[in-house]
Amino acid sequence: MAEVSLKQVKKSFGAAAVIHGIDLAIADGEFLVLVGPSGCGKSTLLRMVAGLEEATEGEISISGKVVTRLEPKDRDIAMVFQNYALYPHMSVYDNMAYGLRIRGLNKEEIDQRVKKAAESLQLAHLLDRKPRQLSGGQRQRVAMGRAIVRQPAVFLFDEPLSNLDAKLRVQMRIEIKRLQRSLGVTSIYVTHDQVEAMTLADRLVVMNAGKAEQIGTPMELYNHPATLFVAGFIGSPSMNFFPANAAGGTLELPGGQRWTLSRQVAAQGDVTMGIRPEHLTLAGANSPAGHAILPLYVELIEPLGAETLVHGRLEGGKAELTARVDGEAAPVKAGSTMRFAVDPRHLHLFDRTSGARLQ
């Protein structure tokens, strides 16, 4: 059983602290995704688990064994790198067999493991090739194969799909998830792509500036973002934010609109209000009672086929807004004002200064 646990793990390079104390407990077989903008420390955190970077403080343990000061080879992990890091002078077979040979496995065992992994990754016909003779997707698979044959306790992925084109990325994403499910190996996956993060993760850690902003399942993060940062990061297109003023049960919007909230809001004074684009629906005559109405001056529309993105401004104010509506819905025209309805349940409120979620 391979649980991974991090206790108050910190990292600084010289005087600059890049990771400010992360606590994590990853269950056996869990697929955990670290997501955040570049420079948030997610790769550094992963590299500390791998043993490629030494933790300045804190404790990392894998399968109950403290590995904080151990060499990468003694941690029973395998890693897939962003640039795949295949040995260019070795054949695909040798790339996969390299780690096994070092471990001193016998020839038949190595052969059997490599062939089996190659089979499952559709690499069987490429075993004699050199990495440079392979396409990006194939190289990616070899990198996966090299990790699989080792049968490690933990898989570590460092942005493994970011060098692939969009179509291949979606395909490999599904393949990785399927593979991880069938092998049941605990995995930690780093990405800056929130779609990749949402689709792959059992649980997500959204990181920002060396801190874990929120840890939870993709749907928890989507429905109840704990901070303004998480709210803006998860979901595409990202959540609309505008300043509002809360007083008792009413919200005053910058355009002067007033909403009476059905639920009790403890917040008073200046707040930031957030609504996801997909929660803005075109208001018809039969909009359910209790839905708030937002008049939107439409500046630009982006038809995507199944859906249409509507960009505009809140009437009477400067707040920009994006709505995501059904592509088949009533035609939206740029330059017109449209009324959008919002279910108050989908309203998110955040503290203006701290960015923390207000209930």
Partner: protein
């Protein structure tokens, strides 16, 4: 490969003309001159010249001092090439690590390359001069009867040190560039795969460095055969008792000082073919083991 044609038939010839001219003037012409001269015997005053076919070569092969020069050259070049490549690689691997003061360290290591061969020779000559030299004094203090002026082996060691020291910078530069072009993630992948530093070096780093190492091997062989002349001339003049007389030094000794132009020309022709053959062998056998 896409073929691009020139509309002007003359233009391609004009474009390669300068390169061709340089090669002809500085290689083919002198080389053919040497071949021609190696068939001639001229008296010391240049008044009588006689065409003798291969007599110069016959004399050479019967001459024990020529054989001596060949042995000296083999010992000298093997030692210099092996040492300068080995030490340069070691230094480059160290410099490639994250160390404090890596900048000055690298700069200092490159300096010897800017020193003229004769100056390098004189520098080492001073340090190892039996009665005055700083290092010679240390050696004598340790009980070694150090005297490169009388002891042939000592003289050889001195020449090897000077020639190696001079070439290390050049090799170091190339090895360092080669090391820096190896992606760090490859080393990390090997570390995760369980390879220790030594194993990583021999199974991942060195194979990826092999094109550089091969190029340097060819360059170094040419260097020790020809360009070490200045060092030997400054340090030992081929002595004592021809103990450090390499082939290229003998060419100079016999031709310029001995006045035997025909014999000297024959020697340079042999030397030229030797280097061509060595380079060809390196390309044929060693290049196969190189991973590009």
């Amino acid at each position: 490969m896409r073929k691009v044609g020139f509309n002007n038939k003359l233009l391609p010839y004009i474009l390669i003309a300068p390169q061709l001219a340089v090669t002809i003037v500085f290689f083919y012409w002198p080389a053919s001159q040497a071949v021609w001269q190696s068939f001639l015997i001229q008296d010391a005053f240049g008044t009588a010249t006689e065409f003798v076919w291969l007599e110069n070569y016959e004399t050479l092969f019967k001459d024990p001092s020529y054989f001596n020069a060949l042995v000296v050259t083999v010992v000298f070049s093997t030692a210099v090439a092996a040492l300068s490549l080995g030490v340069a690689l070691l230094l480059a691997v160290q410099a490639d690590k994250h160390i404090h003061g890596a900048g000055p360290y690298k700069t200092l290591l490159m300096w010897p390359y800017a020193v003229a061969p004769a100056v390098a020779g004189v520098l080492w000559l001073f340090m190892f001069q039996p009665s005055l030299g700083v290092l010679a004094k240390q050696l004598r203090g340790m009980g070694v009867d150090w005297n490169p002026l009388l002891n042939g082996t000592h003289a050889m060691i001195l020449c090897i040190i000077a020639a190696t020291w001079k070439q290390i910078s050049y090799n170091f530069l190339f090895f360092l560039a080669g090391l820096q072009s190896i992606p760090k993630s490859l080393i990390e992948a090997a570390a995760i795969d369980g390879a220790g530093p030594t194993r990583r070096f021999w199974t991942v780093i060195f194979p990826l460095l092999s094109p550089t190492a091969f190029f340097l091997l060819v360059v170094n062989v040419v260097y020790v055969f020809f360009e070490t002349f200045g060092i030997i001339d400054a340090v030992t003049h081929g002595g004592p008792a021809k103990a450090t007389e390499t082939l290229v030094f003998k060419v100079f000794q016999d031709g310029r000082l001995g006045g035997d132009l025909g014999g000297s020309a024959a020697q340079s022709v042999i030397l030229m073919f030797m280097v061509i053959a060595l380079t060809a062998i390196q390309f044929k056998y060693i290049e196969r083991k190189v991973h590009y």
